[in-house]
């Protein structure tokens, strides 16, 4: 079974520039998550999709961050304009179905490391 694919693995940008991250979840997984992980901290949920609908985006800074999962498969997370504090690893994860507790085991991608200068 192929894992969760993310790209790019690394990105360096200047503040106020824009950046986009792509994620392709495991085939058949209905739930897709974007997390932000700052060095030394636990992951922080940015947005969660169930198929192509948003379940939770309460911690997404909507003035600069946006995400979409138009066909219920792959997803894109965009930051525009970037700030210094956005430097972090952006993790994508998927699970079969978040409402099934026993099945709600997340599979993570390797992450996209963003450095904002």
């Amino acid at each position: 079974e192929a894992g969760v694919a993310q790209s790019p693995r690394y990105k360096i940008i200047e503040k106020r520039q824009s950046v986009a991250f792509w994620c392709n979840p495991i085939s058949g997984h209905a739930t897709l998550y974007w997390y932000q992980q700052i060095l030394g901290q636990g992951p922080k949920l940015l947005i969660q999709f169930q198929n192509n609908g948003v379940v939770d985006d309460s911690q997404l800074p909507k003035d600069r961050f946006s995400a979409e999962r138009l066909k219920g498969v792959d997803s894109t997370l965009k930051i525009q304009p970037a700030k210094l504090e956005d430097s972090a690893v952006y993790l994508c994860a998927s699970s079969p179905s978040y409402t099934s507790i026993g099945a709600n085991v997340l599979t993570f991608g390797a992450g996209s490391r963003l450095t904002v200068l």
Binding site: V4, G40, Q41, G42, P43, K44, L45, Q48, D56, L91, A93, Y98, T99, I101, G102, N104, V105, L106, T107, F108, G109, A110, G111
Partner: protein
């Protein structure tokens, strides 16, 4: 509000010795608990989960965790540590909205 605490930022263990990484939780209702591991420059990987049943849960790579309801703990254990177990370990709990509440993580260092 639900919370997960990992009281140790770092745990140091000699190779071959038993290891314990601590986790305590505060939830309303039944606790659903998870352990994930993060190796350097990698995403998180699922280790094990407690949903119901036996208090001792066995997982990947020889790890196990003991659920203790009276102490509201879910400590991760391994009888004999390997250098390759060195990584960042995260405990998580699922809330009533099926959202994961993450601990801050514990860095495990296994010394040869």
């Amino acid at each position: 509000a639900q919370s997960v605490a990992q009281p140790e930022d770092q745990v140091n263990v000699a190779e071959g010795n038993p290891l314990t990484v601590k986790c305590t939780y505060s939830v309303s209702g039944n606790p659903y608990l998870f352990w994930y591991v993060q190796y350097p420059n990698r995403g998180l990987q699922f280790l094990l989960k407690y949903i119901t049943g036996d208090n001792l849960v066995k997982g990947s790579y020889g790890f196990e965790a003991e659920f203790n309801k009276s102490q509201t703990s879910f400590h991760l254990k391994k009888p004999s540590a390997l250098v390759s177990d060195s990584a960042l370990y995260f405990c998580a709990s699922m809330d009533s909205n099926y959202q994961l509440i993450w601990g801050a993580g514990t860095k495990l260092i296994i010394k040869p």
